[in-house]
Structure formats: structure tokens, C-alpha cells
């Protein structure tokens, strides 16, 4: 029994941390915000060159084969630095879908290009202003060609490859679709450092990944939830650090505001929430790396905890900063926006709460 990352894994996290501190500072994040591109392409290239996109991909497909524990730590740093890169879409969703569901030719064809950073991905799922259910999916594949529209697709404007949930003759399938015959129209989201777009497929050729698309998607979500939870955890820690820094520096009534219990106790509650998320994330990382039978429960637990933690830490980071926290100039809103953006990736808190409880019942009856 050993509940900690290894020294090598921690070393990797330090390297990623240093790289992103140097190359993905808040100025870089803000550039993605201001120039409307909503991607820091140099950071993406840098992550690819360091082999980080390839962290959990098998070596025969261009990966480094390091593994999922390592990938969790990379995700945590990506989250902490609010990196405006399609890391989650490409790595946790598209590369995962191909690795888990693709045939040999598909893996050979795409994974090396994803690992090198050449191909970026996106998951095209949502078609209506509601929590996603199978009966809302109207995009359709007929004779190997996909047609229809997806309402909000994270990282779509820069994507070369889509994983798409679409209707087949008798059910839902999960498909892989290249960029040709696909048009995107960028739309603003709550997080303006991240790209989101409406995507339209017009008889676009697709490759089938799974003919039981809905259930394949749920399995994909169980795995991706752990990785997004690490991003959220990183964000929560960064927002907490920012708040603590300010509480130590900012004086009012002749003393540092962090010495007032009203502020101190708020910061302590942020810490507790972050720490609960961290410990749940650690367990989920282990479950992910070992394909443990309780992965669905561990994933939902980490996901709910990390969503709560990032939302609380980013919200109260604004509060600790007072009026300055509500300015465009201060970075508080960037964390606040990202926390609310990530909270809805893969479906929101209430969906994951329900999922957690349903999984708990299954885990018990097993």
C-alpha cells in the first residue's frame, strides 16, 4: 500500500510546472484572450515537443508510454496555468477514444500525428440547450457520411479530427471524422481564453469507432473525468495560492487582511475543499492507471470534488480581492471563468452527482 506519486513522477510534474511558468504565464493566457485566437499555439507545440501530449499513448503509436499517473500530473499543471490549449479535447477525449476503440489502422494513422502535436482533436456531442440524453442526438450517418450540426464543441475551430456521437440506422454510434466537409463557426463561451464553436458536418466521411456509441461515450467519460478533475484541481490550487498571496500582502485597518478571521476562515474552507478534491483525485488516478473495477465511482467522486473545489476557490478568490477582484485587469475572473467552463465539460455537477450515486448503488450490488 503506497498512496503517493513516485519521485520520478513528481520530477515530471516539476518539469511541466517550470515549463508552463516560463512559457504560459498570465500574459500568454491573456494574449489568447485579447487576440481572439483562443489558443496559445506555441504552448501547444512546446507541450508536444516535450512529449507531454504523448504521455499515456503506447510507444508503438508514437507515445512515450509513461502512463496515466503521469498524465494526471501533466493535466494538473495544464489546469493550474489556465493553459489555452486543446489538451483535454485532444488527449483525454480524442486520443483516448482512438486508443480504446479504434482498430489497428486507425491507431497507426492518427495516434503518431496526435502525439507530435500535428493533429488536434475535439469531441462533437451537444445538440441542444439541455443536459445531453441519447434522444437529443439528431446528427446522422448514412452510407458512411455524417450530416448535422453540433451546438457547442470545445476547441473545434482548431481541430483537425472530431469524435462525433451520431445516429445510425438503429442506434447511436461513435465516429471519427476528419476536418474536410466540416465547417465551424466560433461562438463565445464563459471562458474567453478557450475556443468553442458550432460545428456543421455536410456528408463528411466517417470511421466507426463503436456501434454502441452511448455506452462507449460513458466509458470514455469515466476516464476523461479523472483527467479533467486534475485540471480542476490544479486550477483550484492556483486560485487558492493567488488568494493567500493577496491576503498576506493587502493591508486594511492597519494589518494584513489575512489576519482577520473572516478572511482566514474563508481561505481555510477553500483549502479543505481543495484538499478533499486532491485526495479523491489521487485515488481516481490510481483507479485510472490500473483499470480498477471501481473506476466509475472513483472518477465521479474526483470529478464532483474537483468541480466543487475549483468553483469555490475561484469564486472566493474574487471575494478575497474585493473590488479589484472584479476588474478585467486582475486575473481572478480568468480562474472564475475557467472553473465554470470546466464544470460543464463532460456535463455539469448535477449530472456527475447523479452519476456518482447511481454508480455507488451498482458498486454495492456487485
Amino acid at each position: 500500500m503506497n498512496f503517493d506519486f513516485s519521485e520520478d513522477q513528481k520530477l515530471l510534474a516539476d518539469q511541466v510546472q517550470r515549463y508552463l511558468s516560463d512559457h504560459c504565464s498570465m500574459q500568454v493566457v491573456r494574449r489568447a484572450l485579447d487576440d481572439g485566437e483562443r489558443i496559445a499555439i506555441d504552448v501547444w507545440t512546446g507541450l508536444a515537443e516535450m512529449g507531454l501530449i504523448a504521455t499515456a499513448v503506447e510507444e508503438q503509436y508514437g507515445g512515450t508510454g509513461a502512463g496515466y499517473l503521469e498524465l494526471c500530473l501533466v493535466a494538473q499543471q495544464v489546469g493550474a496555468h489556465l493553459a489555452p490549449v486543446p489538451f483535454g479535447s485532444t488527449v483525454y477525449l480524442v486520443a483516448e477514444a482512438i486508443s480504446r476503440l479504434g482498430d489497428e489502422a486507425t491507431k497507426q494513422n492518427w495516434l503518431p500525428k496526435i502525439c507530435s502535436g500535428e493533429v488536434k482533436g475535439a469531441l462533437a456531442l451537444v445538440e441542444s440547450m439541455q443536459q445531453v440524453t441519447p434522444d437529443q442526438i439528431h446528427c446522422q450517418v448514412v452510407d458512411g457520411k455524417l450530416s448535422g450540426s453540433k451546438m457547442i464543441v470545445t476547441d473545434a475551430s482548431h481541430a483537425d479530427l472530431f469524435v462525433v456521437l451520431a445516429r445510425t440506422g438503429d442506434g447511436l454510434g461513435l465516429f471519427l471524422c476528419e476536418r474536410g466537409n466540416v465547417s465551424t463557426r466560433a461562438v463565445d463561451s464563459v471562458d474567453l481564453t478557450r475556443d468553442t464553436a458550432e460545428v456543421t458536418f455536410e456528408a463528411a466521411p466517417v470511421t466507426l469507432l463503436s456501434d454502441d456509441g452511448w455506452s462507449a461515450l460513458q466509458t470514455l467519460f469515466d476516464r476523461a473525468a479523472v483527467l479533467y478533475a486534475f485540471e480542476q484541481l490544479g486550477g483550484a490550487q492556483a486560485a487558492l495560492d493567488m488568494a493567500v498571496g493577496y491576503a498576506n500582502e493587502r493591508f486594511a485597518f492597519g494589518r494584513a487582511i489575512g489576519s482577520f478571521q473572516a478572511i482566514k476562515h474563508m481561505l481555510s474552507d477553500m483549502y479543505v475543499s481543495m484538499k478533499l478534491a486532491e485526495s479523491n483525485c489521487y485515488y481516481a488516478a490510481w483507479a485510472l492507471a490500473n483499470d480498477a473495477p471501481d473506476l466509475p465511482l472513483a472518477a465521479a467522486t474526483a470529478r464532483v470534488a474537483a468541480t466543487q473545489a475549483f468553483q469555490l476557490c475561484s469564486k472566493d478568490n474574487v471575494q478575497v480581492h474585493g473590488g479589484m477582484g472584479f476588474t478585467w485587469e486582475f486575473d481572478c475572473h480568468l480562474y472564475y471563468r475557467r472553473s465554470n467552463f470546466l464544470a460543464l465539460e463532460l456535463g455539469g455537477l448535477s449530472e456527475w452527482e447523479a452519476r456518482l450515486v447511481d454508480t455507488l448503488a451498482l458498486a454495492e450490488s456487485a
Binding site: M1, D4, S350, L356
Partner: protein, 413 residues
């Protein structure tokens, strides 16, 4: 990172299970399973007697206080073996409540500060449950501000004479010995004039008065000292160093309660599966799901946090101030759970008669006991201060008595 047992751990687990299967007081299982929050149910059997019996049989076979050195009655086990033992001990672990303070807090203080001879004399009997210990810290004037305590110790030859009053002493009525923090010098700053001792609870001049608590039970006591004499040889640490000594005790308190703290989750999960709401099992209601998920996340977070603490301990680290969060989270959670559970029971939720109320009134007992969880061993507010100051490094609050001699500090009375 690995949650599976190593071959050595599996072997250890099998040995522990074999001992427990062979020797556990299985006649108590149906009662222990029904233990409500804050009391151990042993049916018609005497709880203290049964607790001592089980402890003794564990000690004789080397299964008591596993992490202690063998010469003091332990097994020299690793922190992880200790966890494996408690997982296997299961329900029987509920019999250990009487010994938690003595073994979890007094013993580490004795190990750090008592003489070798004293350790040989006292620790094995503490491990075997033959002697029960209590901790005499809190006072009417020194609760959250523990260092504000007033119980005096005055030197008289080779002895110290103790006068004053302690309060909130759990288990004083069953205790043979206690560790006691006193003020030996009122003319210096409050943290500097304290000294720690241990004493025989049957010493002349010690008077124990049970406190009738708000929930009607009496787990806690007031302890009065009227010219109680303690040999200087029973001093723990230097004169004036009592604050530092008390930190050893309090740090171990975190470890003693941090890992295994009750949250009420299994109980509420059981209730919502078996109670109807609008004609369906309550667990199917989205609002119930949301709450249940939130509580599960907290309970799992504490459990996983405890696993991390054990990993840190097995690498030789001390339990840090971050473990203050365990009780902070669990106490609030338990109070919320009790309130919600009773709400689900409708007007009948008000019943507290165990013969009538749901689950022998487990949630009602929780409702009435949980306010104390948020106070005992550090209030929610003190714990948040500890996290804020000692973990996050925030500045201390302004202290009106800072550096002031104890006897000049305003008391408001």
C-alpha cells in the same frame, strides 16, 4: 502508487484475521453493530468490562497498540500494518473507545518525556487496557485559549501541590491515571509558565463530577484538585515547558481521531435506500442524490486523505496541521446528515425513543451529539485558524495578551 497489499501485507492481514476469528467476542457482534453515535452498544454486557477483556486478549497475543515498541507492550508494527489491523478488527474496534485517549494521546507523551522506568511500568498496562488514562487539559477558563489555564502547581520539597479545576475530561470516571497540564509560574507570559505531569487519579484531593450534557448523557467530567500532591518524578518535560509537551499530545490527537472519524455517511446512505419519498425510494430523487453525492465526496476525501497520511507516516513524516481538517469536515457533515435524515422521516423524525424511532433513533442521537463534535478537541473556528496560520501561512490574529505576564491578562471577570 499502489493500493493493493504486498505479499507481506497479505500475510499480515491473514494472521490478523485468524486471530480475530479465533478470539473476537462474537457474542457482542449484534449489539456492536447497533452502536449509535457516541456510545458503544454491548447489550446486557458491561461495556467497560468487555472492552478491557478484548483489549487484554489482544495484548496477550501481541495485537494491542501495534505501532508501539515491543518492550512497551506493542508489536513494533508499521503504520500500514496498523491500518490493516483496524480494517480487520472491524466492529470489535468499537470496543476501543475507552482506550483512545490513553493510548492515542497520553502514551505518545509518556514515550517522549517519561523516564525509562516509568515507561516500563506504565505503557504495557496502558496497552493491555488494565489501566485507563485520561487527559486533563481544558478548563473553564482555558478551552480554545488552552494556554489560559489556571490550575496551579506549587513546588513543596520533592512534590508539587495542585489546586484548581479541569473540565471536559472524557472518561475520568474510569481512569487510573491522567496527564495534567498546570500553571507553575503566573508571572511570565501564558505559554511560558506551564508544566506537565502525570498523576494517579485516585490521589487524595482529586474529585470527579460527571457533567450532564445537552444530549442527556455523561461522557465528560469536571475534575477538581484540592491540595493534590504529585511527586516531582512524575513531571513530564522541564518546568515551564508544558506548552511544548502538550503539543506532542495534541499532534497525536489529530492522528488518533483524524483517520477513523465517523461521518454518518453509511447511515444516511442506508436510510435513503430504504425510505420512500413521493412513492419512490428517496435515493431516486435528484435533490437527495445531490446531497448524497456531496457527502460521499467528503467521506471518501477524508478516507483517501487518511491513506495519504499513513503513507507519509510510513516514510517517517509527522502528522501535520493539515490533518485538522478531518474533524472540521466530519462534524459539520454529521450535523447536516442528522438534520436531513430526520426531515425525511417527516413528523415522526422527532421521536427519540429507541424502541420506536427509525434505526433505534440513530439519527436523533446524531442530531443531539453532533454539536459537541464541532467543539471537542478544537472548535471549528480554532481548526480554521490552525489551517489558515499553520498550513497556509497567514498572519496570526492580533492577540491582546501577547507577551503579557499571565497574572496581568484581562479576564473580564
Amino acid at each position: 502508487m499502489d493500493f493493493s497489499d504486498t505479499p507481506e501485507e497479505s500475510e499480515f492481514r491473514a494472521a490478523a484475521r485468524a486471530f480475530i476469528d479465533e478470539n473476537g467476542p462474537d457474542y457482542l457482534v449484534p449489539y456492536l453493530a447497533k452502536s449509535g453515535f457516541g456510545n458503544t452498544n454491548t447489550g446486557d454486557y458491561d461495556t467497560l468490562e468487555e472492552a478491557k477483556k478484548w483489549q487484554k486478549s489482544k495484548a496477550e497475543a501481541g495485537w494491542a497498540c501495534l505501532a508501539w515498541p515491543v518492550e512497551y507492550g506493542g508489536r513494533g508494527a508499521t503504520p500500514i500494518q496498523n491500518v490493516i489491523w483496524s480494517q480487520e478488527e472491524g466492529l470489535y474496534g468499537r470496543l476501543s473507545g475507552t482506550f483512545i485517549i490513553g493510548q492515542g494521546m497520553c502514551a505518545p507523551t509518556m514515550m517522549a518525556y517519561a523516564s525509562e522506568e516509568q515507561k516500563q511500568r506504565f505503557l504495557p498496562k496502558l496497552a493491555s487496557g488494565e489501566e485507563v488514562w485520561c487527559q486533563l487539559f481544558s478548563e473553564p477558563h482555558g478551552g480554545s485559549d488552552l494556554a489560559g489555564l489556571r490550575t496551579r502547581a506549587e513546588k513543596d520539597g520533592d512534590e508539587w501541590v495542585i489546586n484548581g479545576q479541569k473540565i471536559w475530561t472524557s472518561g475520568a470516571q474510569h481512569s487510573d491515571y491522567g496527564i495534567l497540564i498546570t500553571r507553575t509560574d503566573p508571572a511570565v507570559a501564558k505559554h511560558k509558565g506551564l508544566t506537565m505531569f502525570f498523576l494517579d487519579m485516585r490521589s487524595p484531593g482529586v474529585k470527579i463530577v460527571p457533567i450532564k450534557q445537552a444530549n442527556g448523557n455523561s461522557e465528560f467530567n469536571e475534575v477538581y484538585f484540592d491540595d493534590v500532591r504529585i511527586p516531582d518524578a512524575q513531571r513530564l518535560g522541564e518546568v515551564g515547558d508544558g506548552w511544548r509537551v502538550s503539543i506532542t499530545t495534541l499532534m497525536n490527537e489529530r492522528m488518533a481521531i483524524g483517520g477513523s472519524i465517523a461521518t454518518g455517511f453509511p447511515e444516511i446512505h442506508d436510510l435513503v435506500k430504504n425510505t420512500e419519498l413521493n412513492g419512490r425510494p428517496a435515493i431516486e430523487d435528484p435533490a437527495v442524490k445531490a446531497r448524497l453525492a456531496d457527502w460521499y465526496v467528503k467521506a471518501a476525501g477524508l478516507r483517501n486523505n487518511a491513506s495519504r497520511m499513513i503513507t507519509a507516516l510510513s516514510k517517517g513524516d509527522m502528522p501535520g496541521p493539515e490533518n485538522s481538517m478531518g474533524k472540521l469536515v466530519a462534524g459539520n457533515m454529521m450535523q447536516d446528515i442528522a438534520k436531513f435524515a430526520i426531515d425525511l422521516q417527516g413528523q415522526a423524525g422527532r421521536l427519540v425513543d429507541p424502541d420506536v424511532a427509525e434505526g433505534a433513533a440513530r439519527f436523533q442521537a446524531m442530531l443531539l451529539r453532533s454539536p459537541a463534535v464541532r467543539i471537542e478537541g478544537g472548535t471549528d473556528q480554532i481548526l480554521r485558524n490552525i489551517i489558515g496560520e499553520r498550513v497556509l501561512g497567514l498572519p496570526e490574529d492580533l492577540r491582546a495578551d501577547k507577551g503579557m505576564p499571565f497574572n496581568e491578562i484581562p479576564t473580564g471577570s
